[in-house]
C-alpha cells in the first residue's frame, strides 16, 4: 500500500542517508504514538535501498523482562559469525559492543532498532555506545519509539537526553494523517470523512483497520476495529491466533505448529485475513496493537493452558531453551511455580552479567514470589541476589527489606556468618538511605556476631563499614585503625572487592588531613580495583582524589587525576562520574590560568540536559569567577545559579565556595558592602570548621574590604602572607601552586615593578577588570612604561565568535584546509565545515579567503 503524507519524511531520510554514504554516520529517532506508521515508514524507506545496502533489523519485545540484547539477537548472525555464540554465553558487554562496532564499521548499512521504548538496559547501553561513536561508523541508525509511552523515569529518556544534542542526531516526529489523507484512504466508500478523521485522530493504523471491514458504524476504539477482522474467522483459525498471541509479537513457525497441532494449517486463514504476516522465517502480527488486542480476549484459563503448551515446546528445543527470560515469562503466565524457580534465577544472572540490572532485579523479584516453598537457605540466597541488584539500581528500600528478611532466614538456619554478612550489607544500604543511626546499630550487631567466629571476608567488610561510619563522624584515628584491620583481613582472605573498599575508606579518611598519605592508599585502591575490573570504584576514587586535591589547591595534582579519570570514564561510558570530573576540571583550569579550557569544559557541562545539578556546581563557580575577572556581567547570574543549587542541600562544602566566589565578584565590581555581606558568615563558618583555604580566602576578602579579621596559623599561607603585607612571599607561594591569577593579584600589592608585572599577567590571562584598575593606579602614580591599554577590539573578539571558532579562524589564517583543520583539532570534517560556515556568517563574508584576509589585518587576531 502506498504511504500517504509521508514523502517529506522519506525525503529527510534520503538526505541523511546521502550523508551516511558520504562517510559520516547518523542517528535518527522516529517517534509517534502506536499505529502512527513508524514501521511502515521505515519499511518503505529501507525497501528503496535493500537491493544496494545491507539492512539490519531488530525489534524490542514488550515482555515484562525483555532478554538482554533482545533486538541484537535478530541481527546477530548477519553482523558477525561469532556474535550469536557470544550473546548466548555470559560475555562481557564491552566485548559484545566492540564486535558490533567492528562489524558495523566494515560497510555502509542501515540499522533499525524498533520499539526501543521496550528495550532492555543492555540494548540501551549498546545504543548509547554506538550513538557516541556514530560519526565514525558508516551507518544510518534508525530508532523507533512511542513517545507517548515514556514516563519521566523511563530509562530511554536518559539515552535520548544523551544523544539528541549530538550534531549527528535528528528526530522525526510522525504526524497523524490530515483530513485529505483520510479522504484518500476512504476513496469512494460511503463514510463520513470528517467523522472518521475526528474519531481516529488521523491514526493510519486505526483507519485501515476500520476500512478493512464492511462498515455499519465506526467503532469507538482501535481494539474494536481490530477484533472486527476476526468476526469472520473459523473457530480453528481463532485458536491459531490465540496461540500466536501467547507466543508473542514474533512467532516461530515451528513453535506455532507444535502448539496448534492438527489445526496448524489454519494459519493460512489468519494470513489471508491480514492479521498475521510472514517475517523472514517467522511470523508476526500485523501490528503490536493487533497482538495486544487478541491477547486481551483470552480467558485466564485459556491463557494458562496456552502458556504451558508454549513453555513445553520452548524447553524441548535446543535453541529456545537457552532464552531463560522467555522461559521464565511463560512459566509465570502458566502458573508453573517450579519452572519459574528453575528459570527466573538463571535469567536474572544472565541479565546481571549483561549489566541489565533492572531486568535482573525484576526476575529475582519474580522468583521470590514463589520462594516460600524453597529450603530456607535457597530462599535466603535469592533474597541476597535481589538485594544486590536492587542496590545497583538504587532501590534502597527494596535492598533493606530483602536484607532484613535474609537475616531472619539465616538466623533460622543458624548460619551466623551469613547473618553477619547480611548485616554488613544492610549497614551500607541504611547509610545510603540516610538512616545513619540504624546503620550504626546494624554495624555493631554485625561485628558482635562475626567476632565470635573465625574471621573472614565478612568481618573485613563489617570493620570497613565501621571505619566509614567513624570517618563520617570525624573520628579519624579510630576510622584509620578499623580500616587497617579491614585491609589486613581482606588481604588475608583474598577478596579484591572488599580490599578495594577498605583502601578507599582508609585513603579517603586521610585525604583531607594528610593528602599524600591518603593518596598513597587510594592509589593502592585504584590498582586493586582496576585489576579486578571494579569500574565504578575506580571512577569514584579518581573523583575523590581529583576533587580533594582541587579543594586543597593542589591543582597540578588535581589535573593529573581528573584527566586520568576522565579518560577512564569516557572509555567505559561512565557518565555520571565523568561529568563530575569535567566539572572539577573546569575549576582546576580556572586556577591554573587555562581560561579558554574553562569556558569549553564549563559550557559542555552547563548546556548538557542530563547532568545533575550537583555535578554542575564546580563548573558554574569556575565560569562565574572567570567571567567576573573578565568584567563580564553574566558572572553574577552564573554565581546566583550556583548559589541556588548549593542552597538546596545546605552543606558547607557546597555553599562556601559559591559565597567566596560571590565575594570576589562583588569586590571586583567595587562593591565592598556586598562583598562583606557574602564573606562574614563564610569566615565564621570556615573558621569553626578549621578549613584552611576557605577560611584563608574569607579572611583575605574581609581584609581587602577594610576589615581586620583574626588570623590563625592553620590558615592557608598565601592568603595570610598577603594580608601581612608580604606580597612577594605570597606571590611566590601562588607561583609554586601554579596559580597565575592569584600570583598577579599578590604582585599587584607590590611596588611599581611588581605591579607592571602583575598588569602583564592580568592582560595575558584576559583578566580585564583587575588589569584596568591596576593601570589606573599606575597612571595616577605616574609610573613610566605602563603597557598601553589594548584596544577593546583586541580584547574581545569582534564578531562574537566562540573560542572554537577563533581557533579555527586562526588556522584559516595560516592557510590550512578544512581537512587539515579537522585533523589538527581531532574533529570531523563536517564539524569543521559547520564552524567555517558559522564564522563566515558571523563575519558577513562569503569565502574563507576573505575571512583569513580580514583576520590577518584585525588587531584581535594579529596580537594572538
Amino acid at each position: 500500500m502506498k504511504l500517504l503524507e509521508r514523502e517529506p519524511y522519506i525525503a529527510e531520510l534520503e538526505t541523511t542517508l546521502a550523508q551516511v554514504v558520504a562517510g559520516e554516520g547518523r542517528i535518527v529517532f522516529v517517534s509517534g504514538e502506536a499505529g502512527i506508521g513508524k514501521t511502515s515508514l521505515i519499511e518503505a524507506f529501507t525497501g528503496r535501498h535493500s537491493a544496494s545496502l545491507p539492512v539490519h533489523w531488530g525489534a524490542c519485545d514488550s515482555l515484562f523482562t525483555p532478554r538482554p540484547f533482545g533486538p541484537l539477537h535478530d541481527m546477530a548472525a548477519q553482523l558477525h559469525k561469532d556474535l550469536p555464540e557470544l550473546l548466548a554465553s555470559d560475555s562481557q558487554n564491552t566485548e559484545i559492543f566492540t564486535i558490533v562496532l567492528g562489524a558495523l564499521q566494515q560497510q555502509t548499512a542501515i540499522v533499525v532498532f524498533e520499539d526501543v521504548h521496550w528495550a532492555d538496559e543492555a540494548t540501551l547501553d549498546l545504543l548509547r555506545f554506538l550513538g557516541r561513536r556514530i560519526m565514525r561508523i558508516p551507518i544510518l541508525l534508525l530508532l523507533t519509539y512511542r513517545d507517548d509511552e515514556l514516563s519521566p523515569q523511563h530509562p530511554l529518556r536518559r539515552v535520548l537526553g544523551d544523544l539528541v544534542t549530538s550534531p549527528s542526531a535528528q528526530r522525526i516526529l510522525l504526524k497523524p494523517l490530515s483530513e485529505d489523507g483520510v479522504r484518500a484512504l476512504v476513496n469512494d466508500r460511503p463514510i463520513n470523512v470528517f467523522d472518521l478523521h475526528a474519531k481516529t485522530g488521523g491514526n493510519p493504523f486505526f483507519i485501515t483497520e476500520i476500512l478493512a471491514n464492511p462498515i455499519s458504524k465506526i467503532p469507538l476504539n482501535v481494539r474494536d476495529a481490530i477484533l472486527a477482522r476476526t468476526a469472520r474467522l473459523s473457530p480453528s483459525a481463532e485458536a491459531v491466533l490465540q496461540a500466536a498471541a501467547v507466543i508473542g509479537m514474533r512467532i516461530e513457525s515451528w513453535l506455532l505448529a507444535e502448539v496448534t497441532g492438527a489445526e496448524a494449517h489454519f494459519l493460512e486463514e489468519c494470513m489471508a485475513a491480514g492479521i498475521l504476516q510472514s517475517q523472514g522465517d517467522a511470523l508476526s502480527f500485523r501490528h503490536e496493537l493487533t497482538h495486544q488486542a487478541f491477547l486481551d480476549t483470552l480467558s485466564p484459563q485459556r491463557l494458562l493452558v496456552l502458556h504451558r503448551l508454549v513453555l513445553d515446546s520452548l524447553r524441548s528445543d535446543p535453541v529456545t531453551r537457552q532464552d531463560m527470560s522467555r522461559l521464565a515469562h511463560h512459566a509465570e503466565a502458566a502458573g508453573d511455580r517450579a519452572s519459574v524457580l528453575e528459570f527466573a534465577p538463571i535469567a536474572a544472572q544472565q541479565a546481571s552479567a549483561a549489566s541489565a540490572h533492572r531486568a535482573a532485579a525484576s526476575l529475582y523479584a519474580l522468583a521470590l514470589k514463589y520462594a516460600e516453598t524453597l529450603p530456607l537457605s535457597d530462599h535466603a540466597n535469592l533474597l541476597e541476589a535481589y538485594a544486590w541488584e536492587s542496590n545497583l539500581i538504587d532501590r534502597q528500600d527494596e535492598t533493606i527489606a530483602s536484607r532484613r528478611k535474609a537475616i531472619e532466614l539465616w538466623c533460622a538456619v543458624a548460619n551466623p556468618i551469613k547473618e553477619g554478612e547480611n548485616l554488613a550489607y544492610l549497614t551500607m544500604a541504611l547509610l545510603t538511605h540516610g538512616e545513619g543511626n540504624e546503620a550504626q546499630k546494624c554495624c555493631r550487631a554485625a561485628i558482635q556476631i562475626l567476632e565470635k567466629h573465625p574471621p573472614g571476608k565478612e568481618l573485613a567488610l563489617a570493620y570497613r563499614n565501621q571505619a566509614l561510619l567513624e570517618s563520617i563522624n570525624r573520628n579519624l584515628s579510630e576510622a584509620a585503625f578499623l580500616a587497617e584491620k579491614a585491609v589486613a583481613l581482606a588481604e588475608q582472605f583474598g577478596d579484591a572487592r572488599i580490599l578495594a573498599m577498605a583502601y578507599d575508606t582508609l585513603g579517603s579518611n586521610w585525604l583531607s588531613t594528610d593528602f599524600d598519605r591518603g593518596s598513597e592508599y587510594l592509589k593502592r585502591c585504584l590498582d586493586i580495583a582496576q585489576k579486578a575490573g571494579l569500574e565504578a570504584r575506580v571512577a569514584t576514587v579518581y573523583a575523590n582524589l581529583g576533587s580533594v586535591a582541587c579543594d586543597l589547591y593542589r591543582f597540578e595534582t588535581a589535573e593529573f587525576y581528573l584527566s586520568e579519570g576522565i579518560t577512564y570514564c569516557a572509555e567505559r561510558d561512565l557518565d555520571l562520574v565523568r561529568f563530575y570530573l569535567l566539572s572539577c576540571q573546569a575549576m582546576t583550569y580556572m586556577y591554573l590560568g587555562r581560561w579558554r579550557e574553562v569556558v569549553e569544559a564549563a559550557n559542555e557541562i552547563i548546556a548538557h540536559p542530563a547532568i545533575s545539578v550537583h555535578n554542575r556546581l564546580p563548573a558554574l563557580v569556575a565560569l562565574g569567577r572567570l567571567r567576573a575577572r573578565q568584567g563580564e556581567t553574566e558572572a553574577f547570574d552564573l554565581l546566583m545559579r550556583a548559589l541556588e543549587i548549593a542552597s538546596v542541600s545546605d552543606h558547607f562544602e557546597n555553599i562556601a565556595p559559591v559565597r567566596a566566589a560571590l565575594a570576589e565578584e562583588a569586590w571586583l565590581e567595587g562593591n565592598c558592602e556586598r562583598a562583606l555581606s557574602e564573606v562574614r558568615v563564610l569566615y565564621n563558618l570556615a573558621v569553626s570548621k578549621k578549613h584552611p583555604w576557605l577560611a584563608g580566602e574569607a579572611a583575605f576578602w574581609l581584609w581587602k574590604c577594610g576589615g581586620q579579621p583574626e588570623q590563625f596559623d592553620w590558615m592557608a599561607k598565601p592568603f595570610t602572607l598577603q594580608i601581612a603585607g608580604q606580597w612577594q612571599a605570597a606571590a611566590d607561594e601562588w607561583e609554586r601552586l601554579s596559580c597565575p591569577y592569584e600570583q598577579a593579584r599578590a604582585l599587584a600589592d607590590g611596588d611599581a615593578q611588581a605591579q607592571l608585572l602583575a598588569l602583564k599577567m592580568f592582560e595575558r590571562l584576559g583578566a580585564h577588570l583587575p588589569a584596568d584598575a591596576l593601570r589606573e593606579g599606575l597612571q595616577n602614580t605616574r609610573t613610566k612604561k605602563i603597557p598601553r591599554k589594548p584596544r577593546s577590539s583586541t580584547r574581545e573578539n569582534p564578531f562574537g565568535l566562540t573560542e572554537r571558532q577563533v581557533e579555527i579562524l586562526s588556522l584559516l589564517v595560516k592557510g590550512l584546509s578544512n581537512t587539515k583543520i579537522s585533523n589538527h583539532l581531532h574533529i570531523s570534517p563536517k564539524t569543521t565545515d559547520h564552524h567555517v560556515s558559522a564564522i563566515l556568517e558571523k563575519m558577513n563574508l562569503h569565502s574563507r579567503e576573505e575571512a583569513a584576509a580580514l583576520a590577518r589585518t584585525h588587531p584581535f587576531f594579529s596580537e594572538k
Binding site: S236, G261, A262, E263, Q301, R302, V305, L309
Partner: protein, 110 residues
C-alpha cells in the same frame, strides 16, 4: 475419517464437565448428538488422577469438527493432534528390512 487425540485442561475444581452416572439420559443424548452433528465419534478417554487433564480419542472428519462439537458441549480444547495406531512387527529371525517399528495409518489398518 481421521483419528485425533484431544488434550483438555479443566478448571481448578477438576470438573471434567462430561455427563456422569447421575446425569439424566437427555444430557447424555444431547452430548452424543452435538458430536454426531459434526460427524464426530468419541472413542475413548483417559483422565489424570487429579481430574485436571483429559486425553480423549475421537474419530472425526477434521479438527475443526472436534472444536465445534467441544464448543457445543462446553468442553475446553487445549490442542488437537492427529494420531495413528502404532504397530510393532517383529520377525524372527530378525530381518533388517522388516525389523523395527512400522507405522500404519488408522484407515489402512481397518
Amino acid at each position: 475419517m481421521q483419528r485425533y487425540l484431544v488434550e483438555r485442561t479443566f478448571n481448578l475444581e477438576g470438573d471434567p464437565g462430561v455427563p456422569g452416572p447421575d446425569d439424566s439420559l437427555q444430557k447424555h443424548l444431547d452430548f452424543a448428538e452435538n458430536n454426531s452433528l459434526n460427524g464426530v465419534t468419541w472413542v475413548q478417554s483417559y483422565i489424570s488422577l487429579d481430574n485436571r487433564k483429559s486425553f480423549c480419542i475421537y474419530d472425526a472428519p477434521s479438527p475443526e469438527a472436534i472444536r465445534s462439537a467441544s464448543s457445543r458441549n462446553g468442553l475446553p480444547v487445549d490442542r488437537i493432534t492427529e494420531v495413528s495406531v502404532l504397530t510393532t512387527i517383529v520377525q524372527f529371525p530378525l530381518d533388517k528390512d522388516f525389523a523395527g517399528v512400522l507405522r500404519t495409518g488408522h484407515k489402512n489398518s481397518e
